[in-house]
């Protein structure tokens, strides 16, 4: 009995350490079968990701057990065949490098094609095409040439008497906020609060080393969204603000959260008019601004879609967003 058990372990050891051919055959089949099952589940049946992952995990586990049983118990093999030759290793390495190069070339090809379309659209003052280039760049996550984008955006902002030019300028602002994804601060130590649609006010107790303070966040946000509140507590003059300009609710507080992230989950709209927002990142949201009073201090817009009115304050806000990822802007 013990001899049999030692034999199985010996075969398992041989299978895992030396029998490359059998092991990679097993790995290949698992990837193909489980991948096809997962693809059918996800792409054709529109199942949730959790279900598909569970199915793939089960398939992989069953196939692994079956393969181990086959190679180590039913038909054990102690002859791994010859080691892979240098030639076959070199061929595989060259194939991988070629695939990587083609992938990089495809990525760069898209950026170059869009850059060239942008140049052409700008030179012919084709504002519709210009906006379309920015929209395609966002959809395909393509980074256009920075200098070209800046030049085009400035040109669009000076030609805003034409409605199509203004739409293109706003599209360039959308694109600029898409680029901010890598520049804006992200959550590290944060408290997560989901705010359902219809609620645009949160009374939050900031708990720090000092006395607890009741803090209010009451900017008009329409739609489901969530807040990520930094767990670092600072004095109120350095705290994050997300409130109406005239609101005096936080005036008496001595401390608050250092930073705030508002995530619109691609559903919510944040209205900027009459708001005081400070040390805040707003992401995945639609931003509405009619040119009213606003006080923005160290605010980042990430992957946002803008609905800006074409007036002086709207143009100024657009210009500020295009100039720097961190925005400080005040309008009376």
């Amino acid at each position: 009995m013990e001899q049999q058990s030692v034999g199985f372990l010996g075969h398992l050891e041989f299978f895992l350490l030396f029998d490359d051919r059998a092991r990679w055959k097993t790995i290949g089949w698992i990837i193909i079968v489980a991948g096809v099952c997962g693809s059918i589940e996800l792409a054709l049946l529109d199942a949730p990701i959790d279900d598909a992952v569970l199915l793939m995990g089960m398939v992989a586990l069953i196939m692994s057990i079956g393969s181990v049983a086959w190679h180590c118990s039913i038909r054990p093999n102690r002859n791994s065949g010859p080691l892979p030759s240098r030639r076959s290793l070199a061929l595989q390495a060259i194939g991988s490098a070629a695939a990587l190069l083609i992938g990089v070339w495809l990525f760069r090809f898209q950026a170059r094609a869009l850059d060239s379309e942008l140049v052409q659209a700008t030179n012919t003052n084709d504002y519709g095409s210009t906006a379309h280039v920015f929209q395609r760049a966002i959809a395909a996550s393509i980074h256009l040439d920075g200098t070209l984008v800046k030049k085009t955006s400035q040109r669009l902002l000076t030609a805003t008497e034409k409605p199509a030019a203004w739409d293109a300028a706003v599209a360039s602002v959308d694109y600029s906020s898409f680029l901010n994804a890598s520049k804006a601060p992200t959550e590290r130590k944060a408290t997560y609060i989901l705010i359902p649609a219809g609620v645009s006010r949160l009374d939050w107790t900031a708990k720090g080393p000092g006395p607890e303070t009741q803090w209010a966040f009451n900017v008009h946000v329409i739609g489901n969204h969530y807040l990520l509140l930094s767990t670092d507590i600072v004095t109120s003059d350095r705290a994050a603000r997300f409130e109406m300009i005239d609101s005096a609710e936080n005036a008496a507080q001595t401390s608050g959260n250092e930073a705030l992230i508002v995530d619109g989950m691609n559903q919510a709209t944040v209205l900027l008019d009459d708001t005081w927002i400070k040390n805040t990142v707003i992401r995945n949201a639609t931003i509405g601004y009619d040119g009213g009073r606003v006080d923005l201090d160290n605010v980042y817009f990430v992957k946002c879609e803008f609905r800006l009115s074409q007036n002086q304050n709207g143009r100024e806000l657009a210009r500020k967003i295009l100039n720097s990822p961190s925005l400080t802007f005040k309008a009376n």
Partner: protein
Amino acid sequence: MGRLPVRPPTEDESFWREVWTEDLRSFVKHFLSDFVKTLSILAALYLFWEVVAWLRFRGYPDDLCQKLEKTHFAFMWIALVVTGVNFVLRQVVGIWNNNR
């Protein structure tokens, strides 16, 4: 012309040669083989991803691109899990084998 006399290997040289032929050579070849195969799978997945992005860029229907992205996710997930488990298991069994 007589053949040049061959210098016999020193004790040090023969030790390293023995280490290479008996232990390291097989390990390095198996490791390289695994590494290159894993790299091939990752490269194929990357190429798949870029092809889907390119199809999207060329204006193919969004629905088709989303289906392909989901397919890519399924293959990427299972490939990373299986190759990761393969790597970890080999190290664990290798260490266990050396400690026996």
